[in-house]
Every structure is written in C-alpha cells, then in structure tokens.
C-alpha cells in the first residue's frame, strides 16, 4: 500500500514536471535578467545559511 502511494506520488510529480516544463511567460530581456538576479540572490542567501549551519555545528 505504501509502495503504491509512493509510486502514484512519483507519477504525479512527473506529470506536473511535464506539464510545466516550459515557462509560459514571455521571456523578454527584463524577465531573463530578473530571474538571473533572483537565482544569484537565492544562491547567496542559501550559501550564507549553510555557512551559518556549519559554523553552528563547529
């Protein structure tokens, strides 16, 4: 039963990934730059959080 649940969940996630594979928004220069900056921002913040976590463990 648990196996079935995980199998169906996995299938559902694959279906969602397929459905939303391509972004629908018009990828103008302004949108591309915004998403790039957002990625950089998040990587920096996540990097800082991981650094904090490691220093806390030490």
């Amino acid at each position: 039963m648990i196996k079935d649940y995980f199998n169906s969940s996995y299938a559902k996630i694959r279906e969602i990934n397929k459905k939303y594979k391509t972004p629908n928004i018009e990828m103008s220069k302004w949108v591309k730059v915004s998403l790039l900056l957002l990625r950089l921002y998040l990587f920096t913040l996540i990097g800082l959080s991981i650094y904090k976590f490691i220093t806390l463990l030490k």
Binding site: I25, E26, W30
Partner: protein, 423 residues
C-alpha cells in the same frame, strides 16, 4: 427629473454598488487582518514598549505598502482564475514552481507553529493548559471548513477579524494624548537615542509582519475560490484598502497601549506584555490576551489554507472550500495534517521553539523577494493580464516598494543569521 427623483436614483445606484461590494468583500479584509498574527502582535507590543508612540508614522507608511502589494494578487486572481502557486508554475516553469511551493509549505508550517505558540501563551494567562488550547483550536478550525461552503467559512473568518479590533477599546481606556498621537503619526522622526541597530531590527520586523509570502498565495487563491471576475476587481481593491486600514489601526492601537503602559519595560512577546499589564488594568491585560489568541487563530486559519490551496492547485486536487470533504479529500487532508503537525510540535516538551521562530524569519526572507519578483513579472505579462497589466504608475510604485522590501528583508534575514554583523 426633479431633485427627489435624482436623489432616489443615486440612492438606488449606491445601494446596488454597496450590495455588490459586500458580495465581493472578504479576502482583502481577512488577509490584512490576519496579517496581524501572533508574531505581528508581538512585534507591535515590543515596538510600543521599547519606543513608545515614536514609530506610529512608520506603521502608517506600511499601510499603503501592504495595499499596493496585495492589490496585485486581486487582479492576478480575478484575471487568470488561478491561484498564486499555479500561476508561478505555469509562468516560470517547474524549477521556480517547486521552489516556491516547497518554500511556502515550509514557511507556512513553521509560521503555524509560531501561531500555536502565541495562542497557547495567550490562554495560559487564564490558566488554560496548552493541550486544551491546541485541541480547542483544532476543533474551531476543523468546524470552519466542515460546512463545505466558502461563504460560511468567510463569515466565521470575518467574525474573528472583528474580534481582532478588541484592542481599540483598550486604547481609549489608557487615555492617550490626541496631540501626541497626531504628532507621532504625521511627523516622521526617530525615537530618542537615534537610529540604532535595535531600532533597525525592529523596523524590519514590522515590515516583515506587514508583507509575508503566505499573504500573496492566500489572497489570490481566496479571490479565485470566491469566484471574483474582472468586473469585481474594483470591489476587491476597496476590500483590500479597508483591510490595510484595519491592519494599521490595530497595529497603532497596540503600540499606543503598550507605549503608555509599558514604555521602557523590557518585553519579549505579547503574552508577557499582557501579564505585565494585568496589575495595572486587568481588563486591558485580558483584552490583549484575547486579541493575541484571536490573532494566532486567524493567522493559523489563513496560513494553513494558503498551503492547502497551493498544493491543490499544483497537484490538480479539488481545492475549494465550496467542496464537501468527500469531494476534496486531499485538500482537506492536507489542511488537517498541517494543523495537527503544527499543534503537536508546540506540545512537545523542550521543542526548540525559539529556533523555529528564528528559522521562520530566515526562510520567509528567502521566499519573499522571489514571490514579489514573480508577482511584478506576472503583472507585467500582457499575454496573461491583458488590459489589467500594471500601468506605468503602478510599476513605479510597486517596483519601488518591492526593491525596498527586498533590500530590507535581506538585511533582516542576514542580521538574523549573523546578529553581530551590524554592530
């Protein structure tokens, strides 16, 4: 047409507009009042106790900020008929979609825990044990959704919004100086001691309680579930504006009460504030405790729904409060699961509640800029929004607000992680 006929037609027109408004109203008021959740109430009591009424002007500034951000979700929901999570998946693809959904779920769950912390602390003032409080909350929140009607849920939620105004009588009871309130509300200034790190941290905490990621997801999904259309946008905007006024009024009232009764007294949270006020005025202390419980309850109701709606939209489950439990089992199951899990964590002896509160701030900081950027981009997508796309003026205001919020919330998140950085 004589004057009486004209007046009659004007009355009929106003009456019709009012009826339409009352039909469309709800999501904006609920989300804005729920914004003053347990964490928000704590922030306002600490602000009042620490700086008196000196920051009232800042709270007033936050009202339009909240309105402009939330108003965009009304337009987006009414035009696309999609919740925020689905809109992000559809517009930006699976990477940003999953990122937003997972971040929202985690932030919401952690925030829910802080709501339960607030509720249990509030009722502990009346010697009600935490387990009883948690069970009461579970029953209320379960009963609210069990009717399978959005309208019933909304009416009950609006009742709790009304209860949030319980602080207003308290403000009259402390007999504040109208002159002081007027001065501190209108003239921007820093409190005695100038601009310190502590003040900066508190200002950012106030911003953090005014704009939260779950609010965007909640209001848009709520607009869709309520069935608002493009023609209802103007009513949705009025609804949001009224809500933003109410949220600022509640915040101001709490700051006034605590600024008068607890000025200079070290206060960590709203429950402590209520206890400390009790010897001076048991009525005001009681009002603050009841208000804190109500704030936590309202916050928990909205936050858990925001997550359930988001999951329902993405996974394709039936996800409407108009559906009976058997018609939308996964939607309600997730809602109940979220409530049970958050409530249970608070009951675990020695649970790291302070760490959880800190985590909420950091994780919300990661989601907020992303959510706001997506919102601005979506509202500028002509293909999605058609004639309801952001105007030049709306873009100037909204991009300005979003830029400031991103900078401040980042500083807030970083200062939470590294408290010594800004000393």
């Amino acid at each position: 047409m004589n004057i009486f006929t004209r007046l009659y037609y004007r009355y009929r027109r106003m009456s019709k507009a009012m009826r339409l408004f009352l039909l469309a109203a709800g999501p904006g008021i609920i989300v804005m009042v729920a914004d003053n959740d347990a964490g928000g109430i704590t922030t306002y009591t600490v602000t009042g106790a620490k700086y008196g009424m000196h920051l009232l002007w800042f709270l007033i500034l936050l009202g339009p900020v909240a309105y402009y951000v939330q108003e965009m979700t009304v337009r987006l929901g009414a035009v696309t008929k999609r919740g925020h999570a689905e809109a992000i998946f559809s517009a930006f693809g699976r990477f940003w979609g999953w990122f937003s959904l997972m971040d929202l779920v985690l932030t919401d769950w952690l925030t829910m825990i802080t709501e339960f912390i607030g509720m249990t602390a509030a009722l502990s003032i009346f010697n009600i044990p935490p387990i009883v409080t948690v069970v009461i909350c579970w029953i209320i929140m379960g009963a609210m959704i069990s009717t399978g009607r959005y309208w019933t849920w909304e009416k009950i939620a609006l009742f709790f919004c009304g209860l949030n105004l319980i602080y207003i009588p308290a403000a009259f009871m402390v007999h504040p100086s109208v002159k002081d309130i007027a001065f501190n509300s209108v003239v921007p200034h820093f409190p005695p001691g100038g601009f310190t790190n502590e003040l900066f941290f508190l200002l950012m905490a106030n911003i953090g309680t005014t704009i939260a990621p779950w609010m965007l997801f909640f209001q848009q999904s709520s607009v869709v579930d309520k069935g608002l259309h493009e023609k209802d946008i103007k009513f949705g905007k009025i609804d949001t504006a009224i809500g933003s006024v109410l949220t600022v009024v509640v915040a101001m009232v709490l700051i006034i009460v605590c600024g008068i009764l607890l000025y200079g007294v070290p206060v960590d949270d709203a429950a402590v504030a209520a206890r400390q006020i009790m010897p001076q005025s048991s009525i005001i202390g009681t009002l603050i405790a009841i208000g804190l419980f109500d704030a936590g309850l309202l916050g928990a109701i909205c936050i858990s729904l925001a997550s359930s709606w988001a999951f329902g939209e993405v996974f394709g489950w039936a996800h409407s409060l108009n559906a009976k439990v058997r018609e939308a089992p996964w939607f309600y199951a997730y809602y109940v699961f979220d409530l049970l899990l958050a409530g249970t964590v608070v009951l675990i002896p020695g649970a790291p509640l302070v760490l959880i509160t800190l985590f909420v701030q950091v994780i919300a900081t990661t989601l907020l800029p992303a959510a706001l950027v997506f919102l601005i981009l979506l509202l500028n997508d002509k293909k999605t929004m058609g004639e309801y796309v952001n105007t030049r003026w709306q873009n100037i205001v909204n991009i300005g607000i979003v830029a400031v919020i991103i900078v401040l919330s980042t500083l807030y998140g970083v200062s939470t992680l590294f408290p010594d950085m800004f000393k």
